[in-house]
Amino acid sequence: MDSDDEFMSDVSSQDDFLGTQGSDDESLGEDFDDLDAGFSDDKDLIKHKKKPYEVEFKVLDPPDIDHEQLGQVNEVCAILGLPPESVAILLRFGRWNKEKLIESYMEHPEETLEEAGLGSNFEGTAKTERVPGFMCDICCEDGDDLETYAMRCGHRYCVDCYRHYLGQKIKEEGEAGRIQCPGDGCNRIVDSKSLDLLVTKELQGRYRELLTRTYVDDKENLKWCPAPNCQYAIDCGVKNRDLRRIVPTVRCFCKHEFCFGCSLSDHQPAPCTLVKMWLQKCEDDSETANWISANTKECTKCNSTIEKNGGCNHMTCRKCKYEFCWMCMGLWSEHGTSWYNCNRYEEKSGADARTAQAKSRSSLERYLHYYNRYANHEQSAKLDKDLYLKTEKKMTSLQSQSGLSWIEVQFLDTASQALQQCRQTLKWTYAFAFYLARNNLTEIFEDNQKDLEMAVESLSEMFEKPVAELAGLKVDILDKTAYCNKRRVILLSDTAENLKNGEWSFNVEW
């Protein structure tokens, strides 16, 4: 378990996302020092036993995130004895790394404050003032009754200008945590107290929103759910460097399942890097080039690309009039009288051209094998979903006639969800398999893949039956659904364990 230990040591016990993976003796050893924690951990494990491919995570809503920020601000306030609005600026400057920040403050308080845009003057309260004989340096208005404001840096401007400046920064530039004093060359950061004093409630809300956004962006363990209009964030302990060993799929409250590592939709069992390579490959023009090289040949004299679309093997290049044999790529005149029938396969003049051709053809065929299956599952998942939506409508109308209750027709919903999920998994098994080197493990993987695929196809078939027959198939569909889910768990568990233990060998470097 050496490699395991090293791997797990990166993660605090709370972030023990591979909890069930650890062998018993290992967890015993760790828990000895802290019996209480050990107990609660064990209880959790029994309550919802995690699969090897599942990771520990938490969904946070915006108030949770605000609460978290506030908690950290208060904690640091208590240690440093500075006002909370200043501590918030400090923490944002230190990207919420409390320990490092406190350390740097203890060592060089003044430099740290200066760099964070704070200055060391914490006297006075935030309030607007009227100053006799004042002229605003921005709009050049003057007058004794002009309402003015200055932060602790003392750069004083009229409230209207200050307000306009803040509004522009927040609304137009989407800036919040790094808004500086309007003074030329002054790097003091505008604190939340000053902001609240000067701008409208609406802008204050926007400002807080922007701050929350940067907070989540700054923290490595937080990520926004990428679903459109989703307001939740996910808290997960998987680090970037773990992504070679784990595919951390998380599920948001909005039901969207995505990868915490790369924010793409769930792509288990394939690791993020391979997914990126695969998507790039599918998108790339290089595959068009591959097709060209597999289906066309170059004139050996002028290199024009030629596609043979019928006729005999005696080719005459349209461009340079060079005559050659399509089969062996050799010079046609060397064929003598053996017209329409190339028997010169061993000739050196054509051998090299043929080797290159064959290689590119077989690599293309290999790619297409995996791509077609990948694309097919993607397409089928869509069709299954459409079918379900149609069926659901019919079932509702059928409900009144057949006397089946709403609850009783839910088995179709469950089956549809299983189909979606299994096809999503199958789709990515093909991308994964494309990069696998051939060995025993790969064969086991392909067996698992085949089992799941067969189960999915037969469930899909039942699903397509006319609505009238569906009620009679209920038990079969329920059984098949359960079987599909089981096969999926087996495939994913097996792949995840091998990935975690570094057992897979690949045909690419990544």
Binding site: I138, C161, Q168, G183
Partner: protein, 152 residues
């Protein structure tokens, strides 16, 4: 409009006590947003003895948004685009670095300073910047040549 008051004040100050080598006037007396600046090439630079026409445009949101500066006279310089626009890229003129209390006088002084000391690392003309760094003599020759041809 508050900005008119501010612009008039800056214009008055700049015409009454202009910075060294710089004269300022409005391109059109009825429009305070378009300025015409004549900048003398600083002594010791290959632009010396040249008179460069510089256009300064103020956005309606001035001073909350920065002005834009461009050379109407052709100039061979790493930080000025070598086209009919003659655009300039000054750090302080970027929207996120500009402060409403920054002044046009400072912008102009900075622009003139740039003639003496180009900033090849922030260049808009990569080729000229390259030459400035690697073949200073040749750069100065060409810059002098262009000054004689276009700015005298």
């Amino acid at each position: 409009m508050g900005s008119i008051k501010r612009i008039s004040k800056e214009l008055t100050e700049l015409t009454e006590s202009p910075p060294e080598g710089i004269t300022v006037e409005l391109a059109d007396e009825s429009n305070v947003y378009e300025w015409k600046i004549t900048m003398e090439g600083p002594e010791g630079s290959p632009y010396h003895n040249g008179k460069f026409l510089v256009k300064l445009s103020l956005p309606t949101e001035y001073p909350f948004k920065p002005p834009t500066v461009s050379f109407a006279t052709k100039i061979y310089h790493p930080n000025v685009t070598n086209d009919e626009k003659g655009s300039m890229c000054l750090g302080m003129l970027r929207a996120d670095e500009w402060k409403p209390s920054s002044k046009i006088a400072a912008v102009l002084q900075f622009a003139r300073q740039l003639l003496s000391e180009p900033m090849p690392d922030d260049a808009v003309e990569g080729r000229i910047a390259e030459q400035y760094k690697n073949d200073r003599v040749r750069y100065e020759e060409v810059a002098r040549e262009w000054t004689r041809k276009h700015a005298c």
